[in-house]
């Protein structure tokens, strides 16, 4: 949805609510249910899509606060769209508090915590089926630092002017993709062979420093853990506009596969309404694969089940195998098998383990990666 249409549908929504009230009918707000039990996956589509389930909020004494807060914040967001102002969620929290401070009449709407205003913003997005960026509410651009000697990015600025960035001219500085990559146009100066998304940003920097981009016609991205909207949208843009194969290189553990890779490839259940623009279904899992451990004699180690976060990751992976339509799909059976292997063996191997194959050759991980791509040794 484009920002221009939001004021119109918001007005229609409010008009409908007002008419309901005039006729003493309870207005109902409907929003997409963003949860795994309302997620569908089709390999043809390639990402998680919302099902038919809706969250219905009917006006009653208990929900009048939630509705009032939603309409109050919607008014603030519409004002932002009107004036072109942008804000983060935290800023909006303080703006809301400021409104209350200046008008004591609004005191009952006051948010005690940012999580309360965040939930209302998410509810508005789910209700209008739009991205928060469409409401001029941006998140911090985290992760996705990109290096390439072939890529040129053209950004259309809000005032219509265009900015062209040739990534080869940035030296050792990376290009930082935006949370709203739809305003970017990509062009390859020369044929790009592949795009590599590395889970660890530090390792991505090492590759660049060791000359990865000089030796390979490629795009190198550091994901910095769970991919942010910026990374997800950026990968989708590269996939759609440049049509180059994309590979993900990360740790071999349940968290990486189930959380990081799945989100990059098919989106997440929490963001069902935005997965279409924020997932890259063609991305492949390059490794570390279970067979790599044997093949390259990598050092792996047991998962500490006493560690709360690791135990939670294992439990989540077991749940994912049972309930996640992505892992249940036949096309992803190799990924599901890998999760099963991890659950059974309870071992993990980190991406940096490739550095132990030849400790005196800093380019050895690069060589293995390129060899794996050439031989099709990925999922």
């Amino acid at each position: 949805m484009r920002s221009e249409t939001i004021p119109k549908i918001s007005k229609e929504l409010c008009n409908r609510m007002l008419s309901d009230l005039e006729n003493a009918r309870r207005p109902i707000l409907e929003a997409v249910k963003c949860s795994l039990d309302n997620s569908n996956y089709s390999p043809k589509v390639g990402y998680l899509t919302p099902g038919d389930k809706k969250v219905r909020t009917e006006l009653n004494v208990s929900s009048v606060q939630k509705m009032s807060r939603a309409i109050f914040l919607l008014e603030v967001l519409l004002r932002n769209i009107d004036t072109g102002a942008v804000n983060t969620k935290r800023e909006l929290y303080y703006i809301a508090k400021g409104e209350v401070k200046h008008d004591p009449h609004l005191k009952p709407l006051d948010f005690q915590d940012q999580s309360e205003s965040d939930a209302v913003i998410d509810f508005i997005c789910e209700m209008l089926e739009c991205y928060r960026e469409d409401l001029n509410c941006y998140a911090n651009d985290r992760g996705g630092q990109t290096y390439s000697n072939q890529l040129v990015v053209t950004e259309t600025l809000p005032d219509g002017t265009k900015a062209v960035v040739d990534l080869s001219s940035l030296g050792t500085s990376p290009f930082q993709p935006k949370n709203r990559p739809q305003s970017l146009q990509l062009k390859a100066k020369k044929k790009i062979d592949f795009c590599l998304v590395v889970e660890s940003e530090g390792t991505a920097n090492t590759f660049v420093a060791n000359g990865f981009c000089k030796r390979n016609n490629s795009i190198l991205i550091g994901a910095q853990g769970v991919p942010s909207n910026a990374v997800r949208g950026w990968a989708k843009l590269i996939q759609d506009q440049l049509r180059v194969p994309i590979y993900f290189f990360g740790d071999l553990d349940a968290y990486t596969i189930q959380n990081i890779y799945r989100t990059l490839k098919a989106g997440s259940a929490a963001s069902l309404i935005r997965n279409s623009d924020f997932s890259a279904p063609d991305v492949h899992f390059l490794g570390v694969l279970p067979e790599d451990i044997k093949k390259y004699d990598l050092s792996d180690y047991p998962v500490k089940e006493t560690d709360q976060s690791e135990a939670r990751a294992l439990k989540k992976a077991a749940d994912a195998l049972k309930n996640d339509p992505f892992f249940q799909d036949k096309r992803n059976k190799n990924l599901a098998k890998m999760l099963e292997w991890l659950l059974k063996n309870k071992r993990r191997c980190e991406q940096q383990a490739f550095f132990m194959v030849d400790p005196r050759d800093p380019t050895m991980p690069e060589k293995i990666i390129v060899e794996k791509i050439k031989k099709g040794n990925f999922i």
Binding site: S10, C14, R25, I71
Partner: protein
């Protein structure tokens, strides 16, 4: 062979060296135990004679004590009881294990005759003076004052300095101790906690007390029924062990088994005998003489009796407060919001008849310590109407309270802990044979059977209480709904109108529509509240819970005494029990008027 000569010591010698075992382990405890023993004796004496007790307590600091970090404390307790004859005075105050109650199986406060003699010993050891006793019986023409000391070597009381005495009442007894000790007023081991606790479980008591740096206080009685002192009933067969059972038969000589069972035990009737036969007792044996019955036969008879269900021990064998009196007494705890009281029928735990009573009350205006909004509830423990003030955590009563799921009744409760909130949980256990953990009677042994019996009583009290709490929740719900309507409706309509740029006419119409919608919600909430209110009222009518309202507030029970002999009515020490504002009623009225305007 040991070279040292083996000598024997008197009981008094033993206790004088081990006073910590009977409650004199610290200067603070010494003051409390002395007071406690004196008050217990007064109450027991009054009840024996059917006299409504009126006790005056005066505690003063008289200087510095001889022991390190102690004060010289003067404790005076005077009652309106029957008084003691001069012959009995040295036995009661100066001789250990001299008691009129020992082993008689009665629920009196004192049992063995140790406590008050120990207090005399403590006074003798710390201030070199025994106890000063002033007594007057009905037959005495003049009150007599004597000093009693303990002859530690021979375990005998010695009278000194006999002279004419003075008492306020026509008959009674006054005891005065001068001891080394320290005064603690509030808290678990505090004197005020003891005195108010004693008043709670003795509704028939009028108590006057004056404590250092405090104004004199009078707690008036709320019941004019002097509890019947439990008569020494025949033992219940289920309370006996085999050895006791056989020995008991020897007291009756040549008598048939049938006659012995009926005469020598309580709760055995002709029907019970028929039940015994049904359960395997040889019918012919009933006509056998007990002196002809051998040990094996006794064992069979004993096991048949234990297999057969019998009526619980008589309520007369245990002295309960009763729900009515307990209810009246609970109000003396402070500003009570509402409370529930349960008196269970006596039952047998660990072969002993016991009766448990519980009062759970919610207090208003408690701001610090136990029984505040966030802190644990205040637990008051009583054994045979005597407050237990130390070693709370090991007590069967506390274990029972912790084992109940209070969350189900609307109270907050951390896991495996006491519930929290502004509540007082008073648990009273009465039994002729309470199993204390130590000689100073500070905590009750937690046997499984006893904890279960206590737990059941607490659950009953909790269930009764929950009716009122549920009503309150509904009331709160109704309040919230009203508040929400008042607060959010105008904001919602204003925001919608601003976004849609709607004219004033639409705004007015939408506001009316919104009030109509929410008015319907309010009607439903009102209905729920009314139902809960009705349930609570029904429970209150049945006496299961009591809610303190305008009508229920009685004259203040706590009165200050005129300071200079002038008789005048003065304000209560604690603020009067203000009527609970029936906010729910106000809410319903407001809601009704809202609804009226909305529709």
């Amino acid at each position: 062979m040991a070279k040292d000569k083996i000598t024997s010591s008197s009981t008094a010698e033993y206790f004088s060296k081990n006073l910590q075992q009977v409650g004199f382990s610290s200067p603070t405890k010494a003051v409390l135990t002395t007071l406690k023993e004196a008050v217990d004796n007064s109450l027991d004496a009054c009840e024996e004679q059917g006299i409504l007790p009126e006790i005056s307590v005066v505690i003063e600091k008289k200087g510095t004590g001889t022991l390190k970090n102690t004060d010289l404390i003067h404790i005076r307790v005077e009652d309106n009881g029957p008084g003691l004859s001069l012959d009995d005075v040295p036995k009661v105050f100066g001789e250990y294990l001299a008691s009129s109650k020992f082993g008689r199986g009665r629920c009196s406060r004192g049992q063995q005759g140790i406590g008050i003699s120990a207090a005399t010993t403590w006074a003798q050891l710390t201030s070199a003076k025994g106890v000063t006793v002033t007594t007057k019986t009905k037959t005495m023409r003049q009150a007599v004052q004597v000093q009693v000391a303990v002859d530690i070597k021979h375990n005998k009381g010695v009278l000194k300095e006999k002279k004419e005495g003075k008492l306020k009442n026509p008959h009674g007894l006054s005891v005065e101790f001068l001891i080394d000790g320290r005064i603690q007023l509030q808290g678990e081991g505090g004197l005020i906690t003891y005195l108010t606790g004693t008043a709670l479980v003795n509704p028939h008591l009028t108590l006057h007390y004056t404590l250092p740096d405090q104004k004199p206080v009078t707690i008036s009685r709320v019941s004019n029924d002097c509890p019947e002192v439990p008569s020494a009933t025949e033992p219940h067969p289920h309370t006996m062990k085999l050895g006791e059972f056989i020995a008991h038969s020897h007291l009756f000589g040549r008598i048939t088994l049938k006659a012995w069972l009926k005469k020598g035990f309580s709760r055995i009737s002709d029907n019970s005998l028929a039940e015994f036969v049904k359960n395997g007792l040889n019918k012919k044996m009933l006509d056998m003489s007990v002196d002809k019955i051998n040990e094996a036969q006794f064992k069979d008879i004993f096991s048949v009796i234990h297999k057969t269900e019998l009526m619980s021990p008589s309520t007369k064998s245990v002295m309960t407060i009763g729900e009515e009196s307990f209810s009246k007494s609970v109000r003396r705890l402070g500003e009570v919001d509402f409370f529930s009281v349960v008196t269970r029928k006596p039952t047998i735990c660990d072969y002993k008849p016991v009766a448990v009573e519980v009062a759970v009350a919610r207090l208003k205006g408690v701001t610090k310590g136990e029984g505040t909004e966030d802190g644990p509830v205040q637990v008051l423990r009583f054994a045979n109407r005597v407050p237990l003030q130390f070693d709370k955590s090991a007590c069967a009563m506390v274990k029972a309270i912790e084992s109940v799921n209070w969350r189900a009744y609307g109270l907050q409760q951390p896991k495996d802990s006491l519930p929290s909130g502004p509540y007082v949980v008073a648990v009273s256990l009465v039994s002729p044979f309470i199993k204390f953990k130590n000689a100073s009677k500070e905590t009750i042994d937690a046997s499984d059977e006893l904890v279960e019996e206590l737990r059941r009583t607490l659950i009953q009290a909790g269930q009764r209480l929950s009716r009122h709490i549920k009503k309150e929740h509904r009331e709160q719900d109704l309040e919230n709904k009203l508040r929400y309507i008042e607060q959010f409706c105008p904001i919602l309509v204003d925001c919608l109108c601003r976004i849609t740029k709607a004219p004033e006419k639409r705004k007015k119409k939408a506001t009316e529509g919104l009030e109509k919608i929410l008015g319907r919600d309010l009607t439903a909430a009102k209905k729920e509240f009314k139902e809960a209110d009705l349930a609570a009222k029904e429970a209150a009518a049945k006496g299961k819970i009591q809610i303190i309202t305008d009508d229920a507030v009685e004259a203040p029970e706590l009165e200050e005494k005129p300071s200079k002999g002038k008789k005048r009515e003065v304000k209560s020490q604690q603020p009067e029990a203000k009527p609970t504002k029936t906010t729910a009623k106000a809410s319903v009225k407001r809601a009704a008027s809202k609804e009226k305007s909305a529709t």
